[in-house]
Symmetry: C2
Subunit: 454 residues, 2 copies
């Protein structure tokens, strides 16, 4: 069960959460009468060398943002008091609603550089104004889903739980990281609000402080199991991990008799592989072969792969900071760029940041259920394979009911299943083939000739 | 002028934005009758090698969170429907208010490992429950202020502006990164909402899309300057940086005559030092010696130091992703740990994560206006120097009106001015001396003896 918020003022729902230059340009466009149709695309410019793919995410939040986008009266009053903007600009801002259309990759779709994740078509002033927050929304969840997908590949079917709220960058990051990780294949999150808002299963045991607050570790274990008899996972490393495991063995029969059988133990410090092996042996010898071992403590995909490669008997992993901050790569090189204005294709040519112009579509070919290559071309130039961008919004409204998060998660899982073997590695693989179609190259050349002539 | 939000449902204002284990423990504490007074401290456990200090930030948001903390009726109903918690637990959650006290470092204070940033004293169940979000709040702004302070040191007085909203991790991160950077000495932020909420001066020019949307660069420059005649900064790298500078020289007399004098140009790609030198020469020869050069594009403190070290004639820097994600170090190793419960000092002894027990105070000595060493000791054990932790809340309420952000920024500036020379470097310096007082060591030993005997 999820519930809808009755109240609705996230920082992110304020249109003042934008860069000042967006408002400057809004006014300049109005004054120049430049209210023609603009086409912007959001895309990943480049992937870090060891990231072999990205996973599109955040579309639902982007759509919700566009549907709800408006300035409040108090925000307009604040802008007016600042004296930066003309009366006609303020009037236009007060009346602003998103009236355009959106095409996008369904959430969970794997995506590569130069492929549009989302295209927005709207009158230029508004299409520009939404830039900052749209990037802010799409960048974050795409980055986290991409990171989480690597963990899913590394964990080879073990349970994966997001533990990262505390070091996520603020409230929204904590909440949406849980969503993006679940989308990519995590089993759940410790973050309760992610269950309330998005149905992401909540997982949780106890903290070290719980053990410390009790006179003894045994007393803490008993108190916890009795209070939560259906989900008894005990944290055993507060003082001495192996000693903790022996206490669990001693207490287990009593707890089972009380109807609170121990289901799992959690390790959170030290050499996790060595502790897991020692604890497994203690548990097995104590007749607790069914008790699972859950591990956390500064884990990332490489450490998960290393632990499993070393045969560590770990059944599940709690992954925190490295997941919710995308610790090794806390940003993706992505952009939202003008591709066409007033019927004319546009292109940015800044050094190292040139873009492909026009309205684009991505076609993906499959061979024996495996992704075999993409082609980026102009919309309306059909290619072999499956067209990935689908219509999402028209005239400012969503076209159809959005997929549930569970449906998007199933889509993500199918996408990962179709990922070619070499790209599943955690290290850099030869790049997935993304071809630029002749039609798109010809348009880019035509834009260059026009700019050279101008 | 700032305005207060009329509406108020940030994700961060929901007490469901917590880890499930906090709620599990809440119930277990209640059932065990463990509602005695608990003392938790938030502190930085370890700094990355090249980070010679941290700067405390986020206290105001932490206090606001504690003052407003309560479950809504719909949240309690949702918890009840989930069936995880007992009726008496739900009743206690519904009635929950923060009733405790807080001591903390004033925002902008420099802080080192093992020194408490904040101490919270309250009945155990609530002190525990607030853990996840308190860390989430304090960690993020402390990390960003610490990063921003390095940029302030590197920029040697040049203008610094936060450009990082788009790649900040969500809405709250974008907003609060602007606040934390300003606190640490930045001149402002591109994020408009940071001016509205916190009075952080907003800066902004134009995007490449603005240039691209116009038939020519000249037309775009003219349109922008006429729409915003008081703040004419022109982005000149969309097609060719030096050619852009020449266009500015050609247009400048006309714009000056129209009352829209060019104030600055912005470079956003390529070799910024080379472009800045070439552009400076073009501007100077064109009689625009007073026009400032502003640079952005993947800058961080090392690149700013390198550019200035190379004598690049750059007057101001826009710093984006590396600032708002703390790109090289997107998390700080920090914790919120139980230090005392029910009058008895507590200590976590997990491998590599042991803590100093008890209620602590930090004393800082100064020599000739320069920080000369800190001592961490037990509260009530007076040392030489200045006591850094100050009372902030009593019985759940703030004690005095909070400092303005400008006052905290001035405090941060004085702190940075007192930082010893070697610690001002961007590279690792010998650690600042932080002594653990004998009284604190004796208490830790006593706790260890008690645990060993238990």
């Amino acid at each position: 069960m999820t519930y809808q918020r009755a109240r609705g003022d996230e920082a992110g729902s304020s249109l003042l959460l934008t860069d000042l230059y967006e408002l400057n340009m809004f006014q300049a466009y109005l004054e120049a009468g430049m209210e023609g149709e603009a086409v912007f695309e959001f895309f990943v410019r480049k992937l870090p060398p060891e990231r072999n793919f990205a996973m599109a995410a955040g579309l639902e939040q982007a759509v919700a943002f566009l549907e709800a986008a408006r300035f409040s009266e108090e925000e307009i009053a604040w802008l007016e008091a600042g004296g930066r903007f003309s009366a006609s600009c303020l009037e236009a801002l007060a009346a602003l609603r998103f009236t355009g259309s959106v095409e996008a990759l369904p959430e969970g779709t794997l995506v590569f550089p130069d492929e549009p994740v989302l295209r927005l078509v709207a009158p230029l002033p508004q299409a520009q104004l939404f830039e900052s927050r749209l990037i802010n929304i799409l960048h974050f969840q795409t980055m986290i889903a991409s990171k989480a997908a690597r963990l899913v590949l590394a964990a080879e079917g073990r349970t994966l739980v997001d533990f990262g709220l505390r070091r996520a960058h603020g409230a929204e990051a904590g909440l949406l990281a849980a969503r993006a990780a679940f989308l990519a294949g995590f089993d759940g999150s410790a973050t309760v609000l992610a269950e309330a808002r998005f149905g992401v299963p909540a997982f949780g045991t106890m903290a070290h402080s719980f053990i410390q607050a009790h006179a003894s570790e045994e007393e803490a274990f008993l108190g916890f199991a009795r209070a939560r008899p259906r989900q008894v996972t005990l944290l055993i490393d507060t003082y001495d991990t192996e000693e903790g495991a022996r206490k669990v063995v001693r207490l287990a029969p009593r707890l089972a008799a009380e109807g609170a059988p121990v289901q799992a133990v959690r390790l959170d410090s030290g050499d996790l592989a060595a502790h897991a092996r020692a604890v497994r042996e203690i548990l097995d010898q104590g007749g607790l072969g069914a008790v699972r071992i859950f591990a956390s403590s500064s884990l990332d995909e490489r450490e998960v792969a290393r632990l499993l490669g070393a045969g560590a008997p770990i059944d599940g992993f709690g992954v925190g900071t490295s997941l919710t901050t995308s610790g090794d790569r806390p940003s993706l090189d992505c952009a939202y760029k003008l591709m066409e204005y007033d019927g004319i294709a546009r292109r940015k040519r800044s050094e190292g940041k040139a873009t492909w112009p026009g309205r684009k579509q991505v076609w993906r070919r499959f061979e024996k259920g495996c992704m075999a290559g993409d082609t980026v071309t102009l919309e309306g130039d059909p290619c072999e394979g499956e067209a990935l961008l689908v219509p999402v919004m028209r005239e400012g409204r969503r076209l159809t009911a959005p997929p549930t998060l569970a449906e998007s998660r199933a889509h993500a899982s199918r996408q990962l299943a179709a990922l070619p073997g070499p790209l599943r590695a955690l290290e850099a693989a030869p790049a997935y083939p993304v071809a630029i179609a002749p039609a798109l190259r010809r348009l880019a050349e035509a834009v260059d000739r026009r700019l050279a002539a101008g």
